[in-house]
Symmetry: C2
Subunit: 226 residues, 2 copies
């Protein structure tokens, strides 16, 4: 019974996600779903990324949170002129992740004609967002150094579908026991094509490579194409 | 439809949890449900806690993880003689948190007559474990300093039901922007009786107060009683 219901929910989500996808393609919009544990640094990263990249590529952001509306505002303040809208998931009853319906209902709040790249910041959760396709082109997962280097093995599903793993807060590495080479190896073992980048939004370390990776995805110039 | 199903699942869980509760009472066992984001330090804390407290109080541990079996082993290695058993949640289909059934099916693997205090380490997730009662006496939530000081406001449900908030990894505070006084105030605003302790399992800071808080709960000597 429970399994049947879950299947129906998943298949309804797939239909909604396909609808989102058609809309994104119609607008020539590239869409990146950004996922991580709570506090791995999604909002800070997206604030810096939007501020940097908005001068080259028109950016919009949808931010999922359970009950607060502060993160979209943070991004708007950090990157003036960037469209950023909040999705409050508890209104939908399933607070632990975004789904395709939440996205489709939030999209009318954005002027998609003014955007070329859309970030979707998922709810802070390393489990539930993994299974739900939103219509995105790319999935990026953040893993912060203080979370520990065993997380790819412990939460494999979310990493299996990721195109890019960002190891964040590398400025804290001297104070933490974190083996980045081990994480890189484990991530590539479950997804050989995964890009793995080490960054610190605080010090700026590695951000250029991340911006470059993004720009290649937007302009379609990455190796291998699509 | 979805809401009706959720209600049925919740009510089935309540029944199972009540059964667990009766079993715990029959064995005179105090039970603590330990929750946090991935990587906030649950396993390290429980390893140190089990090693310290096992000399005074017989301890057992159940550890929930999605697909790995390593954490129970870590605890057994750190605290020889302590019973620690793993629950692999993906076998149940709902990998994102423990529920009362998983606990009731794992309990026969422990010798409850040899335990006075049972820790249940939940899956790393700041959302889904909140709603599901397992039959425990107390709920402890860890929030690590690098996760940021906005998490009580952003994930209120899990904190609302917590008896104790452990601010962990305080040795990283100099490198992070974390206002512990703000977190304490926000936590007490949603649960006035909440104990808030700052600790570092790495340096040992604050652990004595945590052990003391636990021992009071086990011996029933805390202020106000139960």
């Amino acid at each position: 019974m429970k399994i049947a219901v879950n299947r129906n929910l998943l298949s309804a989500n797939q239909e909604r996600a396909a609808g989102n996808r058609r809309l994104f393609l119609r607008h020539g919009l590239r869409v990146v779903n950004v996922m991580s544990s709570p506090g791995a640094g999604k909002t800070t990263l997206l604030s810096k990324t939007a501020a940097y990249i908005a001068g080259r590529v028109p950016v919009a952001v949808l931010v999922g949170d359970i009950s607060t509306e502060t993160d979209a505002e943070k991004i708007r303040n950090a990157a003036p002129g960037v469209q950023a809208e909040q999705i409050v998931t508890e209104k939908y009853g399933s607070a632990c992740r975004l789904d395709a319906r939440m996205i489709s209902e939030a999209l009318p709040r954005l002027d998609l004609a003014r955007a070329r790249l859309l970030f979707i910041e998922n709810v802070g959760n390393l489990v539930c967002p993994a299974g739900l396709y939103l219509g995105e082109d790319r999935r990026v997962v953040l893993l912060s150094v203080p979370e520990g280097d065993d997380k790819v093995i412990k939460y494999p599903v979310i990493f299996r579908d990721a195109d890019c793993l960002l190891i964040t807060k590398v400025d804290l590495a001297p104070a933490c026991d974190f083996d980045a080479a081990k994480v890189r190896k484990e991530a590539r073992a479950i997804k050989p094509s995964m890009e793995v980048l080490s960054i610190s939004a605080r010090t700026g370390e590695g951000l250029e490579r991340w911006f470059h990776w993004l720009e290649e995805r937007v302009t379609g110039t990455e190796k291998g194409g699509e």
